[in-house]
């Protein structure tokens, strides 16, 4: 029992990070129908940028994060602009295009930051505390709190602001959105920038939890994708639930299967998604041929 709870708590903080990745991913998917395979590498760039401004420039952690979000938001805008001609045309090509961008971002990271990674110390030096016999790291609580804030913030933006409503409208029906006067291109670009910012947030937060190197995106990204899929592509709630599910699954697999945790996580994920391809909150889109 104790052990299970400990695993659960460990999984929740990683799950919160996966949820952030999945949320950004879902936002872009929902507005543009684009599966952004570079999303993971954007998170990695975010992690590096945040750690550089935190460790080298010695900005406060929060300010370093803000810089990372702005930088990656700009990268998101560039990707959106370049791939815009393919929108609503060839889905698979767009997907491969984003993989191309991922390759570019990884190479850039190595050119800028080198091949050796870096460990980022936790910005909170408070010691872990124990509740009901479960050790809780304070940084984990911070991560969960920031993730929760991001979820609430994004929810508020999408449902309570004019621009957020317009973004959803553009996603649901770009022709009708155009007819009511929404600039669909700009709305999509904004969605892309916000998605990239969320990836940077995830990357920046995960820095003190994992080791930051060019391959960080791979691990973080694919689990983030898996989370988005498990929750239901394009659903913000789904991204949160999927993220936590993958985080807990991951932490459980790490506890019980040690080295094989990735294999176990993806096998379980594959079986789950086979049973319910539309995810938990997704709508049925799989066609019958």
């Amino acid at each position: 029992m104790q052990e299970t709870l400990q695993t659960l708590v460990g999984g929740l903080s990683l799950g919160a990070v996966y949820a952030l990745v999945a949320m950004g991913f879902s936002l872009v998917y929902r507005t543009m129908g684009l599966v952004n395979f570079a999303h993971a590498d954007i998170a990695m760039i975010g992690a590096y940028t945040a750690s550089t401004f935190y460790l080298t420039v010695r900005l406060p952690f929060a300010a370093a994060m803000a810089v990372a979000i702005v930088v990656t938001g700009a990268i998101g805008l560039v990707i959106e602009r370049v791939l815009r001609p393919l929108e609503n045309k060839d889905f698979d090509l767009m997907l491969i295009g984003t993989i191309g961008f991922g390759i570019v971002l990884q190479a850039l990271a190595i050119i800028i930051w080198g091949t050796t990674g870096r460990a980022v110390p936790s910005p909170l030096d408070a010691a872990p505390f124990t509740v009901l016999g479960i050790r809780v790291r304070t940084y984990d609580l911070l991560v969960m709190a920031v993730a929760a804030l991001a979820v609430v913030g994004l929810g508020f933006f999408l449902s309570r602001t004019k621009r957020g409503a317009a973004m959803q409208a553009a996603a649901l029906d770009h022709e009708a959105a155009t007819a009511v006067g929404i600039d669909v291109g700009r709305s999509n670009a904004l969605a892309f920038a916000i998605g990239a910012g969320l990836a940077a947030l995830a990357g920046g937060l995960v820095g003190p939890m994992l080791y930051v190197d060019a391959s960080l995106g791979g691990a973080l990204g694919i689990k983030g994708f898996a989370a988005a899929m498990l929750g239901g592509f394009g659903s913000i709630h789904g991204a949160v639930v999927g993220g936590i599910a993958i985080g807990v699954l991951d932490s459980y697999a790490a506890g019980h299967f040690q080295g094989y945790s990735v294999l176990v996580t993806f096998l379980v994920f594959t079986v789950a998604i086979m049973i319910r391809p539309m995810g938990i909150f997704g709508e049925r889109t799989v066609s019958r041929a």
């Binding site: 649901l172 007819a179 669909v184």
Partner: protein, 244 residues
């Protein structure tokens, strides 16, 4: 609902409009006018190019040629998203409501091109007065409405921007005769209030009940034009409706 709170309505003129899809002609050089307060119908068989004409007018599909003016102002180069700012509201074929959003949000988005303020609220009340069901269902997701309710929502959404000209593509599609009747009543009311209407329609009762003149399209071209009264008696128009 007052039409034209963005200024006096002008005449819509469409000249030599043509549309090609990948080298294949869908619409070839068609022209017509809609005078202020006038209601014009475009009729024709499936595949005659009616929807393409409306979409090209709205800038939603690229035009391969043509000129569009409204009240003397040249709208040929105006982008699709700015047409609404020139007073043209569009109700697409098949409604195209924002299915995941609430009825109220759909209506508010109709007024996206204007600041959201007390005027928007007032307009929302006017739309609710015109379609009481939209007020009753304001918090329901639009996708959960019936076909008739969605059609009313699509019209209401277009009205939220306060257009001078309303462009409607097959508002009767998939609706029962009774619902077609209520759509007819609404369009008649809008016409009385001075709104210009451009209507693509398959339902003869709706078309001839609302419009004063019609354009008959065939294979992407204008086959005939005339007053609705004349056309409704023309045996060739029966071809369109009963396809003889």
């Amino acid at each position: 609902m007052k039409a034209a709170d963005t200024g006096p309505a002008g005449t819509l003129t469409v000249e030599d409009l043509s549309v090609h899809y990948g080298g294949v002609r869908a619409v070839g050089s068609i022209g017509f006018t809609v005078a202020p307060g006038e209601s014009v119908g475009i009729i024709g068989a499936n595949g005659a190019g009616k929807t393409s004409t409306l979409k090209a007018l709205m800038g939603l599909v690229p035009r391969s040629g043509g000129r569009i003016t409204l009240g003397g102002r040249d709208l040929t180069r105006v982008r699709a998203r700015d047409m609404v700012r020139h007073g043209i509201g569009y109700v697409p074929e098949g409604r195209h409501v924002f299915s995941g959003l609430s009825v109220e949000k759909n209506l508010m988005l109709g007024a996206y091109s204007r600041p959201w303020n007390d005027g928007t609220r007032r307009r929302l009340d006017e739309v609710h007065a015109l379609f009481p069901v939209l007020g009753e269902m304001r918090d329901r997701p639009a996708g959960a409405l019936s076909g008739g309710q969605q059609q009313m929502l699509a019209i209401g959404r277009a009205l939220m921007a306060g257009p001078r000209l309303l462009v409607l593509d097959e508002p009767s599609m998939g609706l029962s005769p009774k619902l077609v009747g209520s759509i007819l009543d609404v369009l008649l009311k809008l016409r009385e209030e001075g709104m210009s209407l451009l209507l693509v329609e398959q339902n003869a009762k709706l078309t001839f009940g609302v419009t004063s003149s019609c354009v008959v399209m065939e294979n992407g071209e204008v086959a005939m034009t005339g007053t609705s009264a004349e056309l409704s008696r023309d045996p060739r128009v029966r071809e369109v409706y009963l396809g003889l």
